[in-house]
Each structure stands twice: as C-alpha cells, then as structure tokens.
Amino acid sequence: MNMEIYLQLTQFYQEYAANVDAAEWDSWIEMFTEDCTYRIQARENHERNLPMAALSLEGKGMLKDRIYGITETIFHDPYMQNHVVSAPRIKSLTPELIDCEANYAVFRTKNDGIAQVFNVGRYIDRIRNTPDGLKIESRICVFDNDMILNSLIYPI
C-alpha cells in the first residue's frame, strides 16, 4: 500500500470530523462529489438489506437542502458534536477509487448538559481521487444504536 495515500486519507477523515464538529457546512458539502450518496442508516436495516435509512441523500443538491433544513427550518435543541474517528481501513485501492471504512463515535453536548454518547458506528465509504483532491462519492454511516436519542439533526 502507498503510505502517501494512506496519510492523505487519514487526514481527510480528520478534516471531515473537524468540519462537522465545527458546523462548517459549506466545507462539509465540498468534501463530496456532485453525484454523491450520503446515508445514515441503522445497523438493523443495513444487515437485513432493508433500504430504509434515518437520512438518505443523493447528490449535492440534497446535501444543500439538508443544511438549509438544519440551519433554517428544523426546530431543535442546539447541540455540539464531537467526533472521534478511528484510523481508516482500506479495503481496495485503485488510483481513482478507495473503498474504505472507519469506526466513529459521536458525542453530543447540549447547552445545559454533559457530553452523551449520541451515535456510534462505522463509515462505509467510497472515496474518489480527483484533481481537486479526495472527495466522498458514497458515505454510509451505519450506526449501532437501536434507538436514536430523540432527534438527529446534524450530519455525522
């Protein structure tokens, strides 16, 4: 394996975490390809091949609509996110495309609260190596929680 690409990918995962934790939504959107897939799906659905997901977005347009939703239209308790993302595991690698996974834990902290384990799971990713750098072609966040703690607003 190419050490250079592994380091690049590791840095890319950490930048993703930094963007969502800092609510840098424009930067978050720019980490995806135009025709991307972004899905947050319960492990139960994933393992039983049931297509339902808590959130299922296709293409950057839907990502933009989601960001408009969380910033302008959905009423919700404000909260901070803190992502801890493991080192990626590369499953297959070509010069254009990386199939890889990483585990994540997301802690949620509300204004009057203490940090809670909010969502724990695994990113199942397909990352494209483009002239503009690495971009997410597909990210499926498969979460272990049987229950979402009330509402899931921000991307994970």
Partner: protein, 418 residues
C-alpha cells in the same frame, strides 16, 4: 389556579370538560402504571407489527405491548400467534433476538420449551432421575404442562397489519376500531400485500400520550413545520377534516394538499419561507395514487398504541412503546405495496427523509415533546389549554381545532376514573 403551587398527589381536573389538561397526567408514575393496566393490557387492541415482517413459517419478531415484551410469530400452520416473552417457569424474558426463525421457543435457563403457539411441550427431568432403582426428584404427579404455557394473546389481522390483546374479554378488533376509522384503515390497507422497507427508531424523553396528542393536533403542523407550510403539504387553508370513533379515542386527520406559496393564511406564520426553493425537488416528487381517493394525507391515531401515516407517498406505522411516565420508544415501520414499481419504492424512500428522527418535518415533533415534558415536570400543579375550536368535542371540516385532544381525554377520564 395559576397562583396555586401545591403539588397534588393525583391529576386534578379543574373543569368538567377536558379543555384544560393537568400536567400531572404526564408526570405521575402511578397514573402511568394505571394507564398500562387499563389502556394497554385491558380492553384495547394494540399494534404488534405487519404480516410482511414474518413471511415464512417460524419467522418471529420481538416487540412490546405497553411495557410487556411479546413475540409475534408465524406458526407451522401459517397462523400468526402472539405470546408473552416471559417463561412460565421462573419468569425469564427468554427471547433475546429481535427477529429470526424458530421451530420452538426454549428458555435457556432450564430448557423449558414451548411450541410456536406458546404451549409447554417439555420440562427436563419432569419425571426426576433414576438412581439405584429409585425415581428421585422431578415435578409433582399433578403437574399439568397444559397449565403452564406462555401467556397467549388474542390476535387480529386486517389488511396485513397485526394487533393483539391480553384481554380475552375485549370486543372484536373491528368493534374496537369502529366503522368511522375502519374506513380509513381499509383505505391504506386495502388487501394488497405490504412490502417492508425498514425501521426508524427513536427514544423520546416525554410521556407517551404526547405523541398521540401530536397526531391529534392539526394546529401545529402548519406552524411548527416549515416544510409543511411552505410546500402546502399541511396548513390551515388546506381542505381538511377531523374525524373520531364514537368513543373519541381514535381519530383521523384528513387533508388535501393546497397550492403552497404565499396567501392571507401565511401572513404572520414565521415558519413560512417564501423564498425557499429546494435544490433537489425529488424530495417532493409526489405521484398521486389511486387508493388515496383524494386526500394527500391521512394521519390516524389508533389509541393507545399506534399511528398510521399517509403523507403523500410516504406510508408507515409508528408504534408507541412506553418506558416509564417520562419516556417512550417510537418505532417507525416504513412499507410499500407489492405492486409498487421501482420508481415508486424510490419515491417512498426519498419522501421518508421528511419523517422519522432525522426527518425535515418529524424531527421537530420529538423535540417539542421533550420540552413539553420539561415544562410539565417543573410545574406539576399546572395544566395545559386545549380550547381551540371551543370546549366541545365533535368532528370538524377544518383543522383549526383541538377537538381530537379533548376527545381523547374525555375517553381517558372515563377509563381512568372509574
């Protein structure tokens, strides 16, 4: 009453009607226990699942009625049984898988085993052990396996949906639902086989009745939910009706989508966003289906356990599973129909982005329920107001009314106060 700060032991209704609801109905654990008994375990049919979840003989799904764990299973004869997940021997909740396929149920503790109807089949060492030519131990001679099965519930199936009750005396499912609501039930479950699309599950830290009320409250969607107002899916100027069964426990909110956009009714509605345009209109790529017979949304509450949702092409059941007076799990089962094209399945899945714990619309509802519960807990001597549309109870041809909430509490008081 607003200056009164004495915390009562029980809910106190300060009017003969139900236009003011004491906060105590949401905050009192003893009231909650009584609700479980009177509303979930006696006299009512509760939702357990869809036939499509257990298509093969031996398929089972573990779920709950109120706070009691039950198993819905398709037996060797193809019939659907519902049994309680508590071993008749030492009371262990033996079934740990959420779903699967079984030939029998075995409690691992002492290997008591039951057939898929819940009948006790075998007890290890029932006749003791033979040692030195003598039989030692074992169950008493008068032990009758037939007396020690799992608790078997009555089961009702209609249109592919499965309900059950612990109450052997309860009226029939059809009488329980009543003709007014059966009409809308049969509209959605009209005999076509259902196709399971999957689940969304959320834990909402609020009293379970708040979710029933949420779907008996046509006042809020056009105010809280920007998507509903802006895109005309649900708002005060849509053609709509509110209907109840004769006991006022179940209800249907029936609405037909309007044009959306700005008019006299959106003036002053802060959630209305005139400039809002979707980057990707596929979220609302609605296709009219023949079975709708008009209405674009019918939201039904079948008291106490389930909400049946049709919002344009998105259809689901939403199962209320209380855990204590101040929390419930809310389980959404999304489905389609056997004759759906691939495009229709995709459409249903895309529109599901509006619903569930992350939904553009429904995420709001979980949040307001949580904060309502916070208000109730801090002020348990107080009461809420449900006077919109008057203090009386009856069907309406508009949605500017809280009559369905008043109706539910009229029924609640009759059940709880006798």
């Amino acid at each position: 009453m607003s200056n009164e700060t004495h915390i009562p032991m029980r809910p106190v209704w300060d009017q003969p009607d139900t236009s003011r609801i004491p906060f105590k109905v949401y905050t009192d654990e003893q009231t909650h226990q009584k609700e479980l008994e009177k509303l979930f375990y006696q006299n009512h049919w509760c939702y357990v699942g869809l036939e499509a979840e257990i298509p093969e003989h031996g398929d089972f799904k573990r779920t709950v009625i109120g706070e009691r764990s039950v198993i819905m299973v398709r037996g060797a004869d193809g019939e659907i049984n519902v049994v309680e997940n508590v071993c008749a021997h030492r009371g262990m909740r033996f079934c740990r898988k959420k779903h699967g396929n079984a030939k029998e149920f075995v409690c691992p503790y002492h290997q008591w085993n039951y057939d898929l109807k819940g009948n006790l089949q075998g007890v290890p060492f029932r006749r003791g052990v033979k040692q030195d030519g003598q039989v030692k131990g074992g169950m008493p001679k008068d032990f009758k396996p037939a007396d020690h099965g799992l608790t078997q519930l009555r089961v009702a199936q209609r249109g592919g949906v499965v309900f059950a009750t612990f109450d052997q005396e309860a009226e029939s499912f059809e009488d329980f639902v009543g003709p007014e609501m059966l009409h809308y039930f049969d509209r959605m479950f009209n005999g076509r086989k259902l196709k399971l699309l999957g689940y969304n599950k959320q834990r909402i830290p609020g009293n379970w009745k708040l979710m029933m009320e949420n779907i008996k409250d046509p006042y809020h969607p056009g105010l809280l939910h920007t998507w509903f107002v802006t895109f005309g899916l649900w708002r005060a100027d849509n053609r709509s009706e509110l209907k109840m069964d004769k006991h006022h426990r179940h209800a249907a909110m029936i609405s037909t989508r309007g044009e959306g956009g700005k008019n006299a009714q959106t003036t002053g509605v802060s959630s209305f966003k005139e400039e809002m345009k979707l980057h990707d209109p596929r979220f609302l790529d609605v296709e009219v289906e023949p079975w709708w017979n008009g209405p674009t949304a019918v939201m039904m509450t079948l008291f106490p356990s389930v909400i049946l949702q049709q919002q344009v092409n998105s259809v689901s059941t939403r199962h209320i599973q209380p855990n204590g007076h101040d929390s419930f799990d809310f389980v959404w089962t999304h489905f389609g129909y056997e004759d759906d094209t691939e495009e229709m399945t995709e459409r249903r899945l895309r529109q599901a982005n509006l619903f569930g714990p992350a939904g553009f619309v429904s995420a709001d509802d979980g949040e307001v329920i949580e904060f309502s519960q916070e208000g109730f807990e801090q002020k348990p001597f107080h009461r809420s107001l449900a006077e919109l549309g008057g203090r009386e109870i009856g069907d309406t041809d508009h949605m500017v009314s809280e009559t369905l909430i008043r109706g539910m509490y009229e029924y609640w008081r009759k059940q709880m106060e006798d």
